[in-house]
Symmetry: none
């Protein structure tokens, strides 16, 4: 039994909600399976990036998987393009892209081009453009999304977003974020590509069809979150565990690819409230029954409900998650269950409040007196208050795989 | 509700006292208001400088306010002169000063010159002396205290105290603490100033009057805690919170000035057991009802009782503090309550034992099962065991003001 499943429920942690009788959505939810696991395991609370620190979803996952963000995080773009299967090389700059709609004055009308569902027929015209020795590589993502890579000499990721992150304002010029010639060069090259891309996209017959139908054309490439390639020791080599990722959301597949795990596609895993959680857990169990030693399973929609301030939706979705946990009650593996960060409904955004964490595995794990999987209950747990970077060492130790330090 | 009050009770933490039935002074005190707040908030324990580290009052406060002492602490003198409103410039060396009494052999008879109450008429003769391009600046502090600055080129703070910290021994020569020419030069200049100051003080007619009355003359300047100017990012800019300090003791006003807070004078705030705690809390509430976002309120005498080993005095003073906390029960702000360090009556000095901490704010803060504000009770709290540098990030997060790290 030296295999483990790590289940991360995105944005699970919350604050007391008056309308839920002063309970959090997790505390108010009906969670007999999670509670049974808590009773059989050891619990605690965890801040992915440390006490009071407010993590993004990218940084928090890297930390939980054992990668110090000071060393390994270079920007969201890097992880997004990894999730699209784009291979980064040293010197590359990577960005998250959207196809959006701008008017004749380059004012953003729709950041998602009417939530266009496939950017493939559009970005194919952009992929391979060259300018001043730099090649633009673009690959479609889910929905309106795309991955963008600049490849060539003398590039820098220290450039600003051209995506203004809101509608009704003009797209931004990309500008350098430091005084280096590389940043200035990269900004100049990207501005050139964006202008050329706008012309090509506007001429795309599919956009002319969209306009004729009254749909917003996908006529502008909005880029953000520039990052650069950094060599990381892959998760399987680092921990000696053949590892896989099971997720609906693109970012989480990206985290899996970025850290060198296999990303296992699961029909019905959408990253949305309609996602098939049981299918994900079954896929995890199947992977662990097969060649895999470690399965990272991600559930997204808890975060989405938190960002909408929908505490009832969040509670009901947790009820749904708990039903699926019945599949894991008797799993012959170490099971670690936690979240990447809190997304309190009162704040409608990520927060630095710690999240509950538990580790369960008969014979492997000490228990404590906590028999409920909730923010407050786990605050009394014997794991104490962990950081994200402490999670993997704890898992590796419980599996009996930790290296001896000293003699 | 994104305003906060931080109440620090100096030296509050203690060890079990046999005569108090094995309770600490805080546990033995009657504290219904502090306990009610604990029941509504989240609790933990905190070591300002880390587990087992024994902090001074200066270093502990810097850490609690978020300033890493490795980077920002250069010596107590720096903070003391800030508290006296003396502006430090780059290159200055600052010292805490006392006016004391020495005999003809320069043996210290009284380190506080009979607890003289105003050093102003004495230090005026010393302020502005010059020697080898260095100017001596001296300003009176409270009681026997004074702030001392050396200003000029080629100075170093790496010099020893001339204050021997005890009576019956000769005042020390100042000597350099490293091999640099600057430290040797600074020691030489300061020794010159101290000899000249002794002559001037001995000649002061007020001292001749004191001697005639049988009072110890204020005839020697005892200096210690040399520090140097270091630019720090002011607290308001760092956290985006307009901040004020409410304190009786000079050091704590100094901490406030040093970190760029406004220091609000409160009549009756003495830093002594007779201090008007309710007046301080009212001043804090008024500040927060007005333009301030953050109020740091300091209560000193808990530490003084601990240093005297007076556990009954400490307990009774805590009873008095608790009465004042009634004013804060319904305050519409985040309330953080803690201490800078423990001062166990059994030790009569600062110790590295952790102190209790709690944070209270309806809708902002999760609760835990702890309903008593005491060393042991808070040891079970869901905040866990914090360091001083984790306090401000936790407050900023609870206020919903933390910056996102990542995306």
């Amino acid at each position: 039994m030296n295999k483990a499943m790590l289940v991360v429920m995105d944005g699970l942690g919350d604050r007391p909600v008056r309308e839920l009788g002063g309970l959090t959505p997790l505390e108010a939810a009906h969670t007999p399976n999670l509670d049974a696991l808590a009773a059989r395991g050891i619990t605690g609370v965890m801040n992915a990036l440390g006490v009071g620190q407010r993590p993004g979803s990218d940084t928090s996952h890297l930390a939980i998987l054992g990668y110090d963000i000071e060393r390994y995080y270079t920007g969201r773009g890097t992880i997004e393009v990894a999730g699209l299967g784009m291979d980064l090389e040293a010197g590359d700059v990577a960005l998250r892209g959207n196809l959006g709609t701008v008017d004749d004055n380059l004012t953003v009308v729709d950041r998602r081009a009417g939530r266009i569902t496939d950017t493939g027929p559009f970005v194919k015209d952009l992929d391979g453009l060259t300018y001043e020795g730099v090649t633009l590589k673009v690959r479609p993502g889910t929905g309106h999304r795309a991955g963008v890579i600049l490849r060539g000499p003398n590039l820098s990721f220290r450039i600003s977003d051209n995506d203004p992150h809101e509608v009704g304002v003009k797209v931004h010029e990309v500008h350098p974020l430091d005084d280096s010639p590389e940043a200035a060069f990269t900004a100049k090259v990207l501005n050139h590509f964006l202008a050329e891309a706008h012309l090509l996209l506007a001429q795309n017959p599919l956009n002319q069809e969209r306009v004729a139908k009254g749909l917003p054309p996908a006529n502008y490439l909005l880029g953000r979150g520039a990052g650069y390639y950094k060599k990381i020791e892959p998760f399987p080599a680092r921990y000696g565990l053949k590892a896989c990722t099971i997720a609906g959301g693109g970012l989480y597949k990206g985290v899996g690819s970025f850290t060198g795990m296999d990303v296992i596609p699961v029909p019905g895993a959408t990253g949305l409230p309609d996602t098939d959680i049981e299918a994900k857990f079954r896929a995890g169990l199947t992977a662990l029954a097969g060649p895999y030693d470690f399965a990272f399973v991600h559930v997204k929609a808890t975060d989405t409900f938190g960002e909408d301030g929908d505490y009832l939706g969040k509670m009901n979705f947790i009820n749904k998650i708990d039903l699926a946990f019945e599949l894991l009650l008797d799993a012959p593996h170490l099971l670690a269950v936690t979240a990447d960060h809190s997304t309190p409904c009162a704040l409608k955004k990520h927060s630095g409040d710690p999240v509950p964490i538990m580790m369960v595995g008969e014979g492997l794990v000490r228990t404590d007196d906590v028999s409920q999987f909730g923010e407050r209950a786990c605050g009394r747990g014997a794991l104490g208050r962990l950081t994200g970077l402490q999670v993997m060492p704890e898992i590796i130790n419980l599996l009996g795989l930790a290296k001896l330090i000293g003699d």
